[in-house]
Symmetry: none
Subunit: 317 residues, 2 copies
DNA sequence: TTTGCTCATGGGCAATTACTCACCTTCAGG
DNA sequence: CCTGAAGGTGAGTAATTGCCCATGAGCAAA
């Protein structure tokens, strides 16, 4: 304490101050008087100890690993927000965990006092999330669907989540009275020109936050299973490099939307701006690995809710 | 996540808040808004995480003064290893600081790749140290208790640390199904002859490293407070020159085990060899000064974790 | 000796955090 | 159905901390 100018002495002091502060739990004032320096100097020593990484903080809880993964993924892909839930090794479900997390995130947005536009896509995961929502009243908000609600056979599409959402959430909601895929680009233009559709599209473009499922391709993927695409169309798509889809918009391994006849027939609204709004993708599981990776690489989404296994894949890949 | 009342969910939230606060360095306001709760609730979660010991802080820096003291003490008493942590002038705690240091030392031993036998004694300080341990998996190691786990009233003794240790450390552990003191030397022989006890005793004799608390005597000392000895027995002991105890083994001012009826009734295993293994005593504080000095003088231990004040006392005395 | 630079210091102040209090829900037991 | 305990909540407030700034010491180059 007599000599101050040696650098090592200063680090020693920093260590001592840091110890008193973090381990012993004293205030900076107490440290200052016990070391015979001013409070400000004590503060500097404490922050020096932190800056020099003399102080190591550890959190002993399974959730810590998830948070670290989330942070790493967020940084690697420059995402706005990433949430990672623990993987459940015993379950093959593609929704358990992330559905609850997504529901919590939806709830947080809906509880905001200022009016927002919340857009939703489609998919089983998103449906599961919406099913977790409690009853909420939020007359200020608007909820809009990006995708059509008409299945290939003309019935109401089951996985159009906006209706499930309307059950729980009291807000104005805007479905999209269209099929998911139409027969041609021209038909899409015509339909999108209708007044009702056009106003819904305009609302969707203003979305503050968007929740979308991320679908894998393949003959077991949702586009085939739900009958939107025939098996041979799917094979053709995959030959062209397609690996995943969001709201029917098909993209390749780098997350670029494909320039092909299928995408020309997608009647969904465009995915809202990733520059000016938050677009949260939801998905996990081995079959979706490539699709999720492509979606984050190509910035089709700028936020992600997934599980540990998937997050680890994203970091390794 | 819709329902919040689950206790485990609350701890998860605490962990999350603690991580965001200490690891990610966010403010409580940011945490509050990102978790959708009020700032006060965020603050509560953070302090809950601290209170539940989810957050562990460690300081990685050899403070010069402490190092010098440690070296001097090590030489003076021919010890294998001495660790000195800064004293906290304002605190009367007998564990703060050394508990963290002891936990770090235990962790270092447990992280060794080669299989070891780690023995533990008893005491509040050791308990506090073990409570600082993170979760570790080390199936190669064995952990054995030197002292019985049965209190005078027949219940499980609280300060038998091996059970706390088993919570954090995944390793085979061997408790000692005995009281600390039995009624006579003969009873001890009988009990020690039991197969279960004998094998535990054999393991303890092979210990590579042992961690023991150092207890002071007196009517406020642990032996009396925990009901192992009556006040008059204690007075008698002290009249005979006893100054401290380790695992119940009572020794005099020079660290020699007393040849008296009490030590004949101690059911603990013998302290493992100070020739062939490392026996680390943990303790600090004025009330323990004489006991610690006696323990190092008599080589009841061959390594010590203590604080500056105690180290200075040991050098002067 | 002067000049110019770096760096630690303490004061002051705004931001952040901890604590207390009154109230509100939940739930077990009468 | 009421009641009281336990535990959670937000508001308000006091305590603590982080940061900017002007100052001055130390030191090397001019």
């Amino acid at each position: 304490m007599v000599r101050k100018s040696e650098t090592s002495g200063r680090l020693d002091d920093a260590a001592r101050a840091g110890w008193l502060y973090y381990v012993a739990g004293r205030t900076q004032d107490e440290i200052a008087s016990s070391m015979g320096i001013s409070r400000q100097s004590a503060q500097r020593l404490v922050s020096l100890a932190v800056a020099e990484r003399l102080i190591k903080v550890r959190l002993d809880h399974p959730i810590a690993a998830c948070l670290e993964l989330a942070d790493a993924v967020r940084k690697k892909f420059s995402l706005k927000h990433v949430e990672v839930v623990p993987s459940d090794p015993g379950s093959s479900s593609t929704t358990v965990g992330i559905a609850e997390a997504a529901a919590a995130e939806i709830e947080r947005w809906l509880k905001r006092p200022d009016p927002i536009v919340l857009a939703v896509g489609t998919g089983r995961t998103l449906k599961a999330a919406v099913d977790q929502l409690p009853a909420i009243e939020c007359p200020n908000h608007r909820i809009v669907s990006l995708t059509g609600n008409i299945a290939p056979d003309g019935s109401a599409a089951y996985y159009n989540v906006i209706f499930s959402m309307a059950d729980a959430v009291k807000a104005r909601h805007f479905p999209m009275p269209l099929p998911v895929l139409v027969t041609s680009a021209e038909e899409r233009e015509t339909l999108h020109g209708q007044q009702l559709v056009r106003s819904t599209l305009e609302i969707s473009a203003q979305a503050d936050v968007t929740f979308v499922g991320i679908g894998e391709l393949g003959i077991d993927g949702p586009l085939c299973v739900d009958g939107f695409l025939e098996k041979d169309e799917m094979m053709e798509l995959m030959r062209n490099g397609a690996v995943g889809e969001i709201c029917g918009w098909v993209f390749d391994g780098e997350g670029k939307l494909l320039d092909n006849p299928i995408n020309e027939r997608v009647a969904s609204a465009s995915i809202p701006s990733r520059e000016s709004s938050t677009v949260i993708g939801i998905g996990k599981g081995k079959r979706k690995f490539k699709a999720i990776k492509a979606a984050v690489m190509g910035h089709q989404i700028n936020a992600l809710i997934t599980d540990e296994d998937t997050a680890e894949y994203l970091l390794k890949a």
